[in-house]
């Protein structure tokens, strides 16, 4: 038991070391930016995993909160003149509070209705972004978002942003692991298994769902704010339904009920998208977005049908049972 524990610790130290050492080894700003994106998407995916995998509630509109964080940060720093660090913090608070408030009516819905409700939320959000051009910049987007600065230190290049994002992502992961292993985590799993049974045991399921939804919204707000400050430009297409579905794909690939799987899911989807963009674009001119959504769609179907625990856990299990069958036969 003790040995196993230290293996886990070693893995964490190894992961942190890899994350810390990547930028000097890569040296290509674009690649550093792609790795930064993985960090941002990890934060989003962890939140979604808590909502879907642990609490068992469908959310097909998570990009909404990512967008709220990004636009709030942009408006507060570029229009309201708040210092960029304060804008980021206020944006996270706003996003988490909105998550809580929107969750109140939303979680009166269940199953399919909740799925449609969250999708609807995302559709409405996208429409607001496109129609309220005076505030949001409309379809062409919001430009000149100032970079994050704390005192004299400005996060003004890709490598600095990379480290900041990954420190935030690791903090989000650590916080989530604590949540999962706490009383709250047990309550969430109970709700997932059977809401009725959980309630008869005194779990106020609605309160727990709301809290975890607000937490996930807060993570998304943080990721959105950092995204806006990293690329200084945001537009509605980054926060539409398709991105929400992409996030569900990341959570599913990593295993819906897995905190660590989130990194794996986010990395797989981002790198796969990159690969498809590079290769398919060469194969067929202009055909890259198409390939991307076909592959993600099929990936979702295959994983949910055959490996519902995610690519790693589910895949290992499938291999083990195959080996066992071969042993039994041979």
């Amino acid at each position: 038991m003790k040995a196993k524990f230290s293996v886990g610790q070693l893995a964490v130290v190894g992961l942190v070391a890899v994350i810390a050492l990547v930028p000097p080894l890569v040296r290509n700003n674009y690649q550093v930016f792609i790795l930064t994106l993985i960090g941002l998407y990890t934060m989003l995916t962890v939140g979604l995993s808590l909502v879907m995998g642990y609490a068992g509630q469908v959310s097909l509109g998570h990009a909404t909160f990512y967008g709220i964080g990004a636009y709030a940060t942009a408006l507060l720093s570029a229009r309201a003149g708040l210092p960029s660090w304060a804008a980021l913090i206020v944006a996270v608070v706003i996003t988490a509070s909105l998550g809580y408030l929107l969750g109140v009516p939303m979680f009166r819905l269940r199953g399919h209705y909740l799925a449609m409700g969250t999708l609807g939320l995302n559709v409405i959000f996208s429409l607001i972004l496109k129609n309220e051009a005076e505030i949001t910049g409309g379809p062409s987007g919001f430009t000149h978002i100032p970079p994050l600065s704390v005192g004299p230190f400005v996060f003004d290049n890709d490598v600095k942003m990379y480290y900041l994002v990954w420190v935030a992502a690791l903090a989000v992961l650590a916080l989530s692991l604590n949540v999962v292993h706490s009383r709250v985590g047990r309550a969430l799993r109970a709700i997932h298994a059977s809401e009725v049974a959980a309630e008869t045991l005194g779990v106020d399921s609605n309160a727990f769902k709301l809290r975890v939804f607000a937490l996930a919204a807060g993570y998304a707000g943080l990721a959105g704010g950092l995204y806006a400050q990293a690329i200084h430009f945001i537009s509605p297409s980054s926060f539409d339904i398709l991105f929400s579905i992409e996030l569900v794909t990341m959570a599913a690939v990593g295993g819906l009920a897995s905190v660590w799987g989130s990194i794996f899911g986010a990395a797989t989807v981002v790198l796969l998208a990159q690969f498809i963009r590079d290769r398919l674009g060469v194969l067929m001119e202009g055909a890259s977005g198409e390939g991307e959504i076909i592959v993600f769609g099929l990936l979702l179907v295959v994983i949910m049908v055959f490996l519902p625990e995610g690519l790693t856990a589910g895949g290992l299990k499938a291999i083990r049972s195959w080996q066992a069958r071969r042993k039994a036969e041979g």
Binding site: L109, H112, A115, I124, I245, E285, L298, M304, P308
Partner: protein, 309 residues
């Protein structure tokens, strides 16, 4: 608002609502037999329309790699479009839905969402981002009704919807398969005891529902351009119509679809056309939250059944 304007909004609302009605009928058919809400319902409409367009007029596929010049007569092309969508529906059921039939509702939702974007990607790959259009089924001047203008295609849309709904009623009421479908939705266990292959019925439901949606997609294309990305929004609207109609009731779904079309048309005309799609969800939230007592109890009942309590 003059009476003439009102008549105009009502008529265009009913025309648009007919499509939602057909898609909602597809939703109800699948839900009643399999208990699944198929989020890829709208893709059937898109696929049906694109296949029909390709067969009826010169179309370039795969970014110009292939050019199809078949010029089939319109009715034949439309029929082929419906058949193509039915085949896609059958494949979807066999490859995605049937293997996941014991999975949780959450997994099933994600499966149909995944199928929806995969199909959308395939349509995008084949037909690109250009909007496509059909000529109207019959040419001629628009008709006048109570001072409002109805296009001839509008008459076709409403007429075909009425014919389909009546035909569907006769099918469910008087044919053996129709009765078997109803039995499978009323009580799957008892249906199996009576020798009905309920799994086969799921397949029939997907086929039928894909055909209904495809018909909707094909008849609307002369009125509004068809683009690869319309599927999800059509599905969302069909779903809202289905809920307005009481979830399991086919005729309720038709009324719900027409009503939604009218609400949208009025809201777009009188309030804001930019937020047309947002009104759909405003309606959804109102219906869901007002009717929550009934819907909630139903949801809990299902959860209890699933938990075996």
């Amino acid at each position: 608002m003059t009476l003439q304007q009102l008549a105009q909004y009502l008529l265009s609302g009913i025309t648009q609502g007919s499509i939602y009605a057909l898609i909602a009928l597809g939703f109800v058919t699948i839900y009643n037999v399999t208990g699944i809400i198929n989020f890829s319902q709208g893709e059937f409409a898109v696929i049906g329309a694109f296949v029909a367009i390709t067969l009826a007029q010169e179309t370039s596929l795969f970014n110009g790699l292939a050019v199809v010049t078949l010029a089939w007569p319109l009715p034949l092309a439309a029929l082929a479009g419906v058949v193509a969508a039915v085949l896609v529906g059958v494949l979807l059921y066999r490859l995605g839905i049937q293997p996941a039939r014991h999975a949780s509702p959450l997994s099933q939702i994600v499966v149909t969402i995944g199928a929806s974007i995969a199909l959308r990607g395939m349509v995008l790959l084949a037909w690109g981002t250009d909007p496509y259009r059909f000529p109207a089924f019959t040419q001629g001047k628009p008709l006048k009704l109570l001072g409002a203008v109805v296009t001839r295609q509008g008459v076709w849309v409403i007429g075909l919807t009425v014919v389909t709904v009546v035909g569907l009623f006769l099918f469910f009421q008087y044919t053996l398969i129709g009765k078997a479908l109803r039995a499978s939705s009323a009580n799957p266990g008892a249906a199996r005891l009576m020798g009905i292959n309920t799994r086969r019925m799921g397949l029939v439901a997907f086929a039928l529902s894909a055909g209904l949606s495809a018909l909707g997609g094909i008849v609307i294309t002369p009125l509004a351009f068809m683009t690869y990305d319309r599927g999800l929004m059509l599905a969302l609207k069909g779903f809202v119509a289905m809920i307005m109609g009481g979830l399991t009731n086919p005729f309720g779904a038709v009324i719900g679809g027409l009503l939604l079309g009218v609400v949208e048309s009025l809201a777009a005309g009188l309030i804001s056309s930019g937020y047309k799609d947002a009104f759909t969800f405003a309606v959804l939230f109102v219906v869901l939250l007002v009717r929550l007592g009934g819907l909630l109890r139903r949801g809990r009942g299902e959860a209890l059944e699933r938990a075996g309590l």
